[in-house]
């Protein structure tokens, strides 16, 4: 259905259309007979029929049933030519009235959209889909117990469905040699880490601690002393490490109460090598002799003394020795404890591919919400530093480092847990042992028990490959890698009967759908158990498992991922805040903070099982320190997002007021009412307006003196544009009170340049008054975003809920909803209401519905 018309018209159309057996609406022939045919006969047939075929084009043989006919392309041509007023030619005597033209275009758009939907229908079965990149990466991490391999490396991102904007749509997923090569390569890389041979690899362990006294550099253990700090290193390496590779400190250190003071650092300087701020710069060698496997582990024993709302934040980075610049963020943590506490940081050792130079480990105190951005401007720093002019008290949180150790490579136990999980107590040298290893691994990877024939096949492969590899473990790696490029791993192989309308999923397929849906990864052992015992396919069993998974922290992947898809936050990638327009912010940092805020807001509503009305209008905000700073409200403790009351914040809760929404639908300099309106209709009401027509008439130059609203009105008054824009712009204008960074404003700022006699450029800033009133197509008068929010929560609420159900189903099933799904979606909505109407209830209702349990 072409949903380019306003709500009332849409509902009317929906009510009017007859539906066929498969639930698919029939073509609207009545409108054709009443309005379209007479118009075509009068204005087009003269030049485009059997007798005369100008442009080699006929309209008299176009099938009025666009949906089922074979002349779709012809009708598209009619649409294209008519909407840009190219046909009938302007000089032609007989012209349709504006109203007639609109009737024709409305009908064409509605029917063409319907045709597109019907043509792509799969009867609700969808296409068998593979794992998305994200699902693949998480599955590999969980399956192999390896966190240090970049499993996404080289794996192309999926295309987004043009209608929903979702990246997990089965229709959009291709598979080619690139995917195959990446799967094989990543599986081998992962298994090389997961399965080990021989003893624990050689390495080193260095300790740093304050030890006031004179330089005293000798003995068994190699010691370096710099400014009252002793560095002791124990090497477990087959060769002697040259002196310049021994860990040592650079720069000066201040001690307080016998510990190293880590002063606050606000930004990095890259390249100078001179000004690095304070903190520990611990130089290490390149250590080419240490194999690039395992992790690097830093343990810092610290204590902190907060000052006011400022809590000291410990941050560890790794950088290059040649210019002493941090380039790899390792981790950070707030330190509230006054007694020395150990904090551990780990990162893949192999990521430090700097063979020619040594590394520097930076242990510093920073602002937790401050990216150490070398491009940070003084204006940005000023936001964190005490305001000297206002003579506010300078807050000075103190962070003390009592001791630190670095271990390369670090293994908590040997062989590592990943190895034990795969091999268990079985022998890799005999066939029976390998068979048991294979059966276990295949069941987890393929999300179902393998048949004994399948295990035998892989055992046979394993034995044939044995000759190619030096040992049994190396061979096993290769065999298991092949389990991981098998379609049973790569695809959701949900058995379906040919010709059957919908086939119930078996327990294993259901478990897979459930697990990837709610936790973004493979089924866990409990779920496997529920399948094996046959309890999963019962209502109670499925509900129990769904509730268990939703309570698991892993369900964040689902909630945050769904929020991302639902709100279309990927659009943020296309916008950058122009710092010349918004000087008080750090652009890249703020954009990511806004993205997180939007994701966490939606996730919080679901977590608390609040009704869908809370998505629209909540009495709380969900902010972290970064967003609290942006909104000028008291900082929240910790680095996480927390809900704070709306009251007194000066902000409104709800998705319409999320900064990310304002930013992604802007140019980064100016707000963009059309983008905001299209977002509102597409993402919240599931009524996307049509694409702008090709070759849309350009707006003439003399519009430039007008305000944005005036320009929109002028644009809308052109014949070719009026039709669409009358149903778009009114939804966007109410957002105007908010600037692209989501802050309220009283005027829209823009700028122009003037050049002086010497060629110098001067920027002149102007402000234009805001107009945020509009009349929606159904006649509702709206003044500002609060009114639009009321409208969404009342008159449009049913549509909003419908859209939410639809999108949640699309997300969890990995496909776009079709006409044939409509009755099942209605069923979900009923179950949802019956279950209490909370958003979490909706997830459970959907999981329990036939829509989710069949294919």
């Amino acid at each position: 259905m072409r949903r380019s018309y306003f709500l009332v018209a849409f509902v009317a159309i929906l009510a009017l259309v007859a539906t066929t057996a498969a639930g698919e609406p029939a073509a609207d022939l009545a409108t054709y007979r009443q309005h379209v045919k007479p118009l075509l006969d009068r204005t087009c047939v003269e030049c485009h029929s059997a007798k005369v075929q100008k442009g080699n084009f006929r309209v008299d043989n176009l099938d009025p049933d666009i949906v089922h006919g074979k002349t779709l392309h012809g009708w598209e041509e009619v649409l294209n030519k008519t909407q840009v007023l190219e046909m009938p030619p302007p000089k032609h005597a007989i012209q349709p009235t504006s109203d007639e033209r609109q009737k024709l275009l409305s009908w064409l758009r509605q029917e063409l959209r319907l045709a597109a939907k019907v043509h792509s229908s799969t009867g609700g079965q969808g296409a068998m889909r593979r794992l998305t990149r994200t699902e693949y990466v998480q599955s590999m991490k969980d399956l192999l117990g390896v966190t240090i391999v970049d499993f996404g490396q080289g794996f192309p991102e999926e295309n987004r469905n043009r209608e929903t904007g979702f990246a997990n749509d089965s229709r959009e997923m291709s598979f080619n040699t690139t995917h195959l090569a990446v799967l094989l390569d990543r599986a081998r890389a992962g298994l090389a880490e997961a399965l080990v041979t021989g003893g624990k690899p050689p390495g080193l362990k260095a300790t740093l601690k304050p030890a006031p006294g004179r330089n005293n550099n000798d003995g068994e253990v190699r010691k370096h002393r710099t400014n009252d700090v002793l560095v002791e290193t124990v090497f477990d390496l087959p060769i002697k490490v040259p002196w310049h590779e021994e860990p040592q400190l650079n720069g000066s250190i201040t001690l307080l109460d016998g510990a190293i003071v880590l002063p606050r650092v606000f930004r990095d300087m890259i390249g100078s090598g001179a000004v690095m701020g304070g903190g520990v710069r611990w130089h290490m060698g390149a250590y080419k002799v240490i194999p690039r496997i395992g992790e690097l582990r830093v343990v810092a024993k610290v204590s902190g003394r907060p000052d006011g709302d400022q809590i000291p934040n410990l941050r560890v980075d790794i950088g290059r020795a040649e210019n002493e610049s941090p380039h790899q963020f390792v981790g950070q943590a707030l330190v509230t404890s006054a007694t020395p506490t150990e904090i551990e940081f780990r990162m893949p050792w192999q990521l430090l591919a700097l063979p020619d130079h040594g590394h520097v480990i930076f242990i510093r105190q920073t602002e937790p919400d401050l990216l150490m951005d070398p491009l940070a401007t003084p204006a940005m720093e000023a936001r964190y530093l005490p305001d000297q002019k206002k003579k506010t008290t300078k807050l000075n949180p103190i962070l003390l480092l009592h001791e630190a150790t670095v271990e390369i490579p670090y293994y908590a136990s040997w062989p590592p847990p990943s190895h034990v999980a795969i091999v268990g107590n079985d022998s890799v040298d005999d066939a029976e042992g390998v068979k048991r290893i294979l059966a276990r691994f295949m069941q987890r990877a393929w999300r179902r028990p393998p048949t004994s024939a399948e295990v035998e096949t892989f055992l046979d492969f394993h034995q044939r490959m044995r000759a190619h590899f030096p040992g049994p473990i190396e061979t096993l790696r290769e065999t298991l890698a092949n389990v991981l490029i098998n379609p049973n791993f790569v695809y959701f192989t949900e058995p379906v009967r040919d010709g059957a309308e919908r086939t119930p999923l078996n327990a294993w397929a259901l478990a897979s759908r459930l697990s990837f849906g709610l936790t973004g990864t493979l089924p866990d052992p409990v779920l496997h158990d529920a399948c094996a015992k046959g309890v999963l396919i019962s209502d109670a069993g499925l509900r129990h498992e769904a509730e268990r998974l939703l309570a698991d922290p892993c369900s964040d992947r689902f909630l945050l991922g769904f929020a991302d898809a639902y709100l279309g936050l990927h659009a943020l990638d296309n916008v950058n805040i122009n710092p010349e327009f918004f000087t008080a912010v750090e652009p890249g940092l703020l954009k990511e903070a806004m993205r997180d805020e939007a994701r966490h807001f939606v996730a919080t509503v679901f977590r608390k099982n609040l009704p869908s009305a809370s998505l629209i209008n909540a009495d709380f905000l969900v902010v972290d320190r970064r967003m609290a700073r942006q909104y000028g409200i008291p900082l929240v403790p910790g680095n996480d997002f927390v809900a704070v009351p709306e009251a007194g914040s000066g902000r409104q809760g709800g998705i319409l007021h999320l900064s990310a929404v304002h930013l992604m639908n802007s140019t980064g300099e100016h707000s963009h009412p059309i983008k905001r309106a299209v977002w509102f209709r597409r993402n919240l009401l599931d009524q996307p307006p049509g694409d702008p027509p090709p070759a849309v008439p350009s707006v003439p130059e003399d519009f430039s003196g007008l305000s944005l609203t005036q320009r929109l009105i002028a644009h809308r008054n052109k014949d070719a544009c009026r039709d669409c824009h009358a149903s778009i712009d009114p939804y966007g204008l109410p957002f105007e009170r908010y600037d692209p960074t989501g802050l309220p404003r009283n005027e829209a700022r823009s700028r122009y340049f003037v050049f002086d006699m010497s060629g110098g450029r001067h920027t002149v800033w102007t402000g234009q008054a805001i107009e945020c009133t509009s009349t929606l197509p159904d006649g509702t008068a709206v003044n500002g975003l609060d009114d639009l929010r009321k409208y969404l929560g009342s008159a449009a609420k049913e549509r909003f809920d419908h859209s939410l159900v639809n999108r949640l189903a699309s997300y969890l099933l990995g496909r776009t909803m079709e006409f044939s799904d409509q009755s099942l979606l209605d069923d979900v909505a009923k179950r949802w209401t019956a279950a209490g109407g909370g958003t979490r209830d909706l997830v459970i209702a959907l999981v329990l519905s036939p829509l989710f349990r069949t294919r």
Binding site: H73, E76, E77, N80, T122, Q125, A127, M128, R129, G154, P156, E157, E158, N159, R160, R162, R171, E172, M173, S174, F175, N176, T177, T178, L180, A181, L184, T457, R464, M465, H468, N482, N486, P487, V490, Y491, T493, P495, V496, D498, D573, N574, V575, N576, T667, K675, D691, P692, P694, A695, V696, P697, S698, V699, E701, F703, S704, L708, R711, H715
Partner: protein, 444 residues
């Protein structure tokens, strides 16, 4: 015919030096006077999505920011967009007014897959011009066809990341990381030939095993799912072909290229500003130039920005809106200019390639004499799939004549492709639904 390079001559380039002792083996490019054959004929297509600015007559920005020159014929004047192509003004031809008629229903967004094939929109796709050219001499070169993209997405059938399609009508996978392309072309395996051969043999058995496994599953699936798995099977079979190819090249001489590969941006998504973006593009282009100079490849397809759904943000690195937003920003007084700034960035890359190829001496001319560069898009003004932006550069020794802006209102882009094919000795008068030739483009 000789390559004007002494043995061991070093090609000066930003990123790489090539040692060329292998040239003796190449017949056409040995010691002066020794090679009888002509240099190879190459073909590059470079393109982008979402169209170009074409300000209407009378618009203040018409002369400065129109993609097509406003004048036709020999007296055409280049706009700001094509500043980097000024040195090649007499070595190139603009062709306006043409398009693929059968692709029109897809509009600009939908016509991407058929730009080089001319197939029907949403019909089964057919072979693209570059594949046709590459297939002819596929046995003679190491990597017959380079398919490169600025997109990190895998794409779908109607929104592929690049424009190359094989004889089955399947999109050829495109590489977005220039380092990977470089490695594939010039990477040296430290292992002995025998060990490499053993490794390939092992990979063969892995692939065989997987093919059998996938076929077994295939037989158990419903018909709709089988179509999905077909793609998987094709990928396995293609991988097997690639292995065979690698094996057949084990014993043949390959050029040594000493390139200093600093951490290049591996994709447009990792670029932070225009400088990095240009460096990223330049690395792709350098790879093409090196592949041609060493005769490792003879065709290249480089899609810098595919269309919607593919890294639309990259134009923001040039300080303007995202590519889609740019094309619709008609309310902005600087609409055409901003769009032009982005198109200028695209055009600069083509200028860079033309420059590189014209610096590489070959026989009594340069590589550019034996290379046709086809530059353009399947979209003109705001998703309008008619009047494809088209620019043909170089290839004089392949029979092209240049220095004009040719205009064919409602013309057939298939004719452009069919005409270019004749330069490679391929007579396919109906390729891409061509119904004639652009004879004005040919020297004879």
């Amino acid at each position: 015919m000789t390559l004007r390079l002494d043995r061991r001559t070093v090609l000066k380039s930003a990123a790489a030096t090539i040692a060329l002792p292998w040239l003796d083996a190449m017949g056409w490019a040995g010691e002066p006077g020794s090679g009888p054959a002509a240099p190879p004929a190459r073909f590059v297509s470079m393109n982008f999505g979402l169209g170009v600015p074409l300000p209407p007559p009378g618009h203040a920005h018409r002369d400065a920011w129109s993609w097509f020159p406003t004048r036709t014929g020999r007296d055409y004047v280049l706009s700001e967009i094509h500043r980097s192509l000024a040195p090649f003004r007499d070595r190139m031809t603009f062709i306006s007014g043409t398009d693929h008629r059968l692709a029109r229903p897809g509009g600009g967004h939908g016509g991407t897959a058929v730009w080089l094939t001319g197939a029907e929109f949403l019909g089964k796709n057919t072979i693209s011009i570059d594949s046709l050219i590459a297939d002819r001499t596929a046995q003679e070169v190491f990597l017959p066809s380079l398919v490169l993209t600025g997109s990190s997405r895998s794409g779908s059938t109607i929104a592929p990341p690049a424009r190359t399609f094989d004889a089955r009508g399947q999109a050829v996978p495109a590489q977005c990381d220039p380092r990977k392309t470089f490695e594939l072309l010039f990477g040296r395996d430290a292992k002995s030939i025998e060990r490499q051969r053993a490794q390939i043999a092992r990979e063969h058995s892995v692939i065989d095993f997987n093919l059998r496994q996938a076929k077994e599953l295939h037989a158990q699936l419903g018909s709709a799912d089988r179509q999905r798995l077909d793609q998987h099977l094709e990928a396995i079979r293609d991988t097997e072909k690639n292995l065979k190819r690698a094996e057949s090249w084990l014993d043949k001489p390959r050029p040594t290229v000493d390139a200093k590969i600093d951490p290049w941006p591996s994709g447009t998504s990792t670029c932070k500003d225009r400088t990095q973006l240009e460096r990223y593009f330049a690395n792709h282009i350098e790879t093409i130039a090196l592949a041609f100079a060493t005769d490792s490849s003879r065709t290249a397809q480089f899609t810098m920005q595919p269309e919607v759904n593919h890294n639309e943000h990259i134009s923001t690195l040039c300080g303007v809106l995202d590519t889609h937003g740019l094309s619709h920003d008609s309310g902005n007084p600087d609409y055409y200019k901003n769009w032009g700034i982005w198109c200028q960035c695209m055009s600069d890359q083509v200028g860079l390639l033309a420059k590189r190829l014209s610096e590489l001496k070959e026989g009594d001319g340069t590589v550019l004499d034996n290379t046709i560069i086809l530059f353009g898009s399947q979209t003109s003004d705001v998703h309008w799939s008619q009047n494809y932006p088209t620019l043909v550069i170089g290839g004089e020794k392949l029979g092209l004549k240049h220095g004009r802006h040719l205009r064919y209102p409602d013309g057939n882009f298939g004719n452009v492709l069919a005409t270019l094919l004749t330069c490679y000795g391929i007579n396919e008068p109906q390729f891409a639904h061509a119904d004639g030739k652009i004879t004005e483009l040919l020297a004879v």
